[in-house]
Structures are given as structure tokens and as C-alpha cells.
């Protein structure tokens, strides 16, 4: 969580995302809050006049001042702790829309929640499959859990192996998923974070993840995107119906496990 960026939008979801991001920063004692604002130079040119007071530069400066004042009023952060930025490609972006639009970014959709722990403390959930991409998500979760003293739940759902009679879902896991589970266990143990595993054979993967999150009063789902998935992305399926805030971790974020 080295950098948190919010997208300025004058809408309910935009305001909630700003509140969520600023609250997260306050909890992590981290500053500043980066706010992504498209400059809109071509738009400014449309309404710029010949006089000095209405030049393109003056309009852009005025826009920055107005946005800064509005963000400060919404978040309660002093203006010096808010940085308006024209780029959005590093760190975690807190936004409702971008989670659907920008798979190449790490985007946290607050799902209309005002704050991470507004409804009390609860665990972070990291779903994992048979791919090492879960380790990237787990790293973020473990770091956040350690800083906020929250437990982590690692979730896996598997198809039943029809050749096995065992009622235990764990016995039906494939070897690769078991290796990922072991790596997750080692990471969490090394970080000294409280953790648990939920393994089941859910009918629907995205619903299984969300239902586990709701049963366990999870406060944030941290889901890795898969670079190999072409159709039926579980992250997008979960995003479409989650009431729990969800951080979609990009497949190629450069973060190494």
C-alpha cells in the first residue's frame, strides 16, 4: 500500500471512494492522498478567452483549486496532504468504475462503503486457485493485516474429484492448489499474522467467495486477476455483485511474491 490514488468524480460513488481512501490512509498513518484529475486542456481551450484571467492556464489552475477544496471538504484532510495527479498507473487506485475498466491496474472498489472498518473489525479474504498469482494478492493482504492487526482468511473452492469418496473438500484439492496453500501458510506465519483457511466445494466460484466473505464478516476481499483467463473472469463476476469492498490485483503488477 505504498501509494493510494482516488479518481475525482462528482457523484455519490466518487465521494464514497474519497472517504474510503482517506480513511484507509489515516488508518495506515500514510500521506498524501493522490487524486487523479484529468487536466482537460482541450476542454479548457473551448472556454478560454483572450484575456489573462480566462486563459487556459488560469482555467486549469482554477479547476485544481476547486477540486482541491472539494476533496478537502469531503475527506477532512488538509489541502497540503492532497496531491492532484495526472497519472494513475502506480499504487492502488480506489474507484468504483475503474475496477471494471482497467484490468492492468490494482483497483480497490469500495462497494459503496465509507470506510474499511466502519462496521467494526473483520478479516481480509484472499481467494486462491492453482496459480501463483494469489501470492501477490496475499502479500498485500498480509502487509495490510499486519499493520491493522486483522486476521486473514485464505479461501479456496475446488471441484469434486469423483474418484475420491472423502467428504473433506481439502482432499479434493489439486496438487498445485495445495502448493499455493502451503506458500500462503508460510507467508502468513513468517509475517506473524493470524490466519485461517476455508476450503469448500462451492457450486459457483464467485458466489462461494462472496458467501464466505459474508459469513466471516470480511472487510476487504483481495483478489488476484489471472493473466491466462480470457472469458469468465472471477474478479469481474465478484465485482458485479459484491457488497464487500474488493481489491482487484492486476495480473502483471510487477509485484513479486
Amino acid at each position: 500500500m505504498e501509494k493510494i490514488t482516488c479518481v475525482f468524480r462528482r457523484s455519490t460513488e466518487g465521494r464514497l471512494a474519497l472517504l474510503f481512501a482517506s480513511d484507509l490512509l489515516k488508518m495506515l498513518s500514510a500521506t498524501p492522498l493522490y487524486v487523479y484529475l484529468e487536466a482537460g486542456r482541450s476542454d479548457a481551450e473551448q472556454i478560454a478567452g483572450a484575456d489573462q484571467n480566462n486563459s487556459v492556464e488560469a482555467l486549469l489552475t482554477e479547476q485544481n483549486a476547486q477540486v482541491l477544496a472539494e476533496v478537502a471538504a469531503i475527506t477532512g484532510l488538509p489541502p497540503e496532504q492532497i496531491v492532484l495527479s495526472g497519472t494513475d498507473t502506480s499504487g492502488i487506485v480506489v474507484d468504483h468504475n475503474m475496477a471494471f475498466e482497467r484490468a492492468e491496474l490494482d483497483v480497490l472498489s469500495p462497494s459503496r462503503e465509507k470506510a474499511l472498518l466502519a462496521r467494526g473489525k473483520g478479516p481480509l479474504l484472499v481467494p486462491f486457485g492453482d496459480s501463483l498469482s494469489a501470492l501477490q494478492a496475499a502479500n498485500i493482504a498480509i502487509e495490510l493485516a499486519a499493520r491493522l492487526t486483522l486476521p486473514v482468511v485464505f479461501y479456496h473452492t475446488t471441484w469434486k474429484d469423483e474418484t475420491l469418496a472423502s467428504p473433506s473438500a481439502e482432499d479434493h484439492m489439486c496438487a498445485e492448489a495445495k502448493q499455493v496453500a502451503e506458500a500462503l501458510r508460510n507467508s502468513a506465519t513468517a509475517a506473524g499474522v493470524e490466519f485461517s483457511f476455508v476450503i469448500e466445494t462451492a457450486d459457483d466460484v464467485a458466489e462461494g467467495i462472496l458467501q464466505c466473505a459474508l459469513r466471516q464478516s470480511v472487510r476487504l476481499i483481495i483478489m488476484p486477476r489471472s493473466a491466462k483467463t480470457t472469458i469468465g473472469c472471477y474478479v469481474n463476476q465478484a465485482l458485479a455483485k459484491t457488497p464487500v469492498p474488493l481489491l482487484a490485483v492486476a495480473a502483471k503488477s510487477g509485484r513479486q511474491p
Partner: protein, 417 residues
């Protein structure tokens, strides 16, 4: 052997088997108490035996009620007939109240008998029951003590088992009958104390003040049973504390903005909750929230005194706080920009706002400056936006600074998911 033990355990946990055991206990007690009571000329012991005969009828009535309550639900009785149990609570509560009043009067008349002049004075005003002193000699003492002690132990043990099985199986009538059996045990204990007091200390009066105390305890139990049945039959809420916890759990669920209605009542041992949840989420997210709410509420209610629960969740949007705002815009080649001044604008966009979001907008040609105020008022616009630090005033309409000149950033031209 193991199979026999399992069978016995199953039998001990069966409400029907337990109630037949209660019938058996009262039958033995009635025979012994009536027999010994008449042989030692003790109307108190013999009377208690006749009271036990009435208890047998009560236990048979409970058996019938349990059988009825177990009948499956039907179109005419969608919740089944579980509430019949609470008629028994009402009846047994009433019986206990009458029994406690009768016992209190007997104890009071025993106390008054110690002071004959006061007794005569009181009886001249209030018709108290006749006091019967215990008639007992050395040869009958041990039988009387054995009977009283055996009755006390049997009553307390059977009552405890009855209440445990009643709670586990969700039969309120059985729990109520268990309370009645415990009440009998307390009265029998006082009788025993009276017998021992007379024999060892020649102080039979000991039982009377204790009797008054026990009458109070029984009256309290009777009142609780009566009110418990009364509340359920009149569909009283399941309780302020339960409703507060239900509210707390709902508000802790992600996505829930508020609870606009909480209605609860009880049918048999089933809690029924009808909740109206306020949320801004869409249908597919609401389906997940419903799962979460049902899970947490079921977990709580089943951990409380309820055997089952029926949850009826209704979801509604918050008040939309509908109003209209307008933006002065420059529309050039279908490219929208918020204007700095009215003069600069080519159009006025009228926006319907719900839940603080623009849900519909309509672009109108800009009226003349002189007509702008009337135009905005006619459109019922409450706030007019320009991108200028000191926007020019428009008479009768609030004018504000748009935070950006970019249309999509102020909610115009929304980008859909």
C-alpha cells in the same frame, strides 16, 4: 448392550416418553399419599395426593398438546399448530397462581392457629380455610418422612429432566409442566420440613413462614408462564434485547444503510422476523446481502432460545431526495464543456438528481439573459452551475461554482459500466 443404551438414551430424550414417565410418577405419588394420608388422618398429605391426580390429567393434556403441535403445517395453518403449546402455558400458569394462593392461605391459617384469639378475630372478617394439624406417631413417622422425601427428590429430578427435554425439543408446554412439577416439589419440601419440625423440635409452625415464601416463588413462576403464553398468543415482539441485537447485526452487514422496520413475533419455538432493509445496492448485490443477513440472524436466533426462525427480508432504496440542478454549457460539435459565464454558454442542461447523482439530463437552448431566471424557475431548478470562482448572479436561483469545466467530472456525460 450398546444398542440398548442408545435406545434408552433416545427414549430419555423423547418428549412423549418423558411425559409418560411424569404420568407414572404422579400415579405412584397419588396412591401413596392418599393411602398414608388417610391412615394417619392427615388431610394435608391426602389432599396433596388428590392434587397429584389432577396433575396426571394435566400431564395427559400436555401429551395431547405435544401431539397436536407436531402436526405438519398446511394451507390453512402455514406455521403449523405450534402455538397450541402456549395455551398450555397460559393454563398451567393460571393453575400455579391458584395453587400458590391456596398454599399461601393454608400457611397463613397455620400461622394464625398459633394465636387462637387473633385467629378467631381474623376468621370473623375473612373466611380462611380450616386448619388441619398433622396427626402422627412414632410408628408412622418413618413412612411419612420416606414418602415426603421420596416425593421431593422425584419431583425435582423429573422436573429438571422435563424442562431440559422440553427446551431441547422446543415444547413450551413441557417446560411449563416441568415448572409446575418443580412447584409441587417445593410444596412437598415444606411439608417435609413441617413433619421434621414437629417430630424433632415440636415446632410444626416452622413450615408456615417457609410456606408463604414458597407460595411467593410459585406465584412468580406462574405469572411468568402466564405472561409468556399471553405474549406469544397475542404476537408480542420477541423482546427488546433480541430486536436490538438483530438491528446491530443488520447494521454491521456491508451494504446495509438502515433498517426502516423491524417486526418480530414468536410462533411455538420459532422466531419470526420481518425486516425492511434500506440499501442503495442493485438486485444482484442485494441477493448476496440477503444471504449474509440470513446467515448472521439465523446464527444468533438459534443460539438464543429459539428452535427455528423465519426471516422475511424486504429491501428498499433510501429516500431519493429528488431535485433539479442546471449547468450552463458550451456544446460545440457534440463536445460539452461547462461554461464560465452565461454569455459564453450555448445551452443549459437541466438535470434530475436522485441520491445526489444526476439520473437524467436534458439539453435546452439557452434562453435570453432576461428570460434565464424565469426559465430556471419554470424548470424548478434549485441550483445553477457555472465554472467561475465568482459566478454571476441569477435572480431567485442559487448559483454555484462547478468544481470542473469537464462535463464528465461533474456528472454530465456519465460513463456507464
Amino acid at each position: 448392550m450398546k444398542a440398548l443404551m442408545n435406545r434408552l438414551q433416545t427414549l430419555a430424550a423423547s418428549p412423549f416418553a418423558v411425559m409418560w414417565m411424569v404420568v407414572g410418577m404422579y400415579a405412584v405419588k397419588a396412591v401413596l399419599k392418599i393411602g398414608i394420608g388417610q391412615s394417619i388422618n392427615s388431610p394435608m398429605i391426602a389432599g396433596d395426593g388428590f392434587h397429584n391426580l389432577a396433575d396426571i390429567l394435566e400431564a395427559l393434556a400436555v401429551l395431547l398438546v405435544i401431539w397436536i403441535s407436531k402436526r405438519p403445517s398446511s394451507d390453512d395453518y402455514p406455521f403449523g399448530k405450534k402455538n397450541v403449546e402456549f395455551f398450555t402455558s397460559l393454563a398451567i400458569g393460571s393453575v400455579l397462581l391458584v395453587m400458590s394462593a391456596n398454599f399461601a392461605l393454608q400457611s397463613l391459617s397455620g400461622l394464625l392457629a398459633l394465636a387462637p384469639s387473633v385467629d378467631a378475630a381474623v376468621r370473623s372478617i375473612v373466611p380462611l380455610p380450616e386448619h388441619h394439624a398433622l396427626v402422627m406417631d412414632n410408628s408412622t413417622f418413618r413412612y411419612v418422612v420416606a414418602l415426603a422425601l421420596g416425593s421431593v427428590i422425584a419431583s425435582f429430578l423429573v422436573s429438571r429432566h422435563q424442562k431440559r427435554v422440553g427446551k431441547a425439543s422446543g415444547h413450551a408446554s413441557m417446560v411449563a409442566d416441568g415448572e409446575e412439577t418443580a412447584g409441587d416439589g417445593k410444596i412437598e419440601l415444606i411439608t417435609l420440613i413441617g413433619v421434621l419440625g414437629e417430630y424433632f423440635f415440636h415446632a410444626p409452625w416452622l413450615e408456615y413462614p417457609l410456606g408463604l415464601l414458597v407460595a411467593g416463588v410459585i406465584a412468580h413462576t406462574g405469572w411468568e408462564l402466564f405472561m409468556g403464553g399471553f405474549r406469544v398468543l397475542l404476537q408480542h415482539s420477541i423482546g427488546v434485547e433480541h430486536e436490538a441485537e438483530i438491528r446491530r447485526r443488520c447494521l454491521n452487514m456491508v451494504g446495509v444503510q438502515d433498517l426502516s422496520a423491524v417486526k418480530t413475533f414468536q410462533i411455538g419455538s420459532t422466531a419470526v422476523c420481518m425486516l425492511t432493509v434500506v440499501t442503495e445496492h442493485n438486485t444482484s448485490t442485494i441477493a448476496q446481502m440477503k444471504y449474509g443477513l440470513e446467515h448472521t440472524l439465523k446464527e444468533y436466533l438459534l443460539a438464543s432460545d429459539f428452535k427455528d426462525c423465519e426471516l422475511h427480508l424486504k429491501f428498499q432504496k433510501p429516500e431519493p431526495n429528488r431535485h433539479r440542478v442546471a449547468f450552463a454549457v458550451v456544446n460545440k460539435d457534440s463536445h460539452l464543456v461547462v461554461a464560465s459565464t452565461v454569455e459564453q454558454a450555448s445551452h443549459i442542461i437541466i438535470c434530475d438528481v436522485e441520491h445526489d447523482d444526476i439520473v437524467r439530463s436534458k439539453q435546452e437552448p439557452k434562453p435570453s439573459t432576461a428570460e434565464l431566471s424565469a426559465f430556471l424557475k419554470r424548470k424548478r431548478v434549485t441550483c445553477f452551475y457555472l465554472f467561475h470562482p465568482q459566478p454571476q448572479a441569477v435572480e431567485g436561483v442559487q448559483v454555484a461554482t462547478a468544481p470542473s469545466f469537464q462535463a464528465h467530472l461533474v456528472g454530465l456525460n456519465p460513463r456507464s459500466r
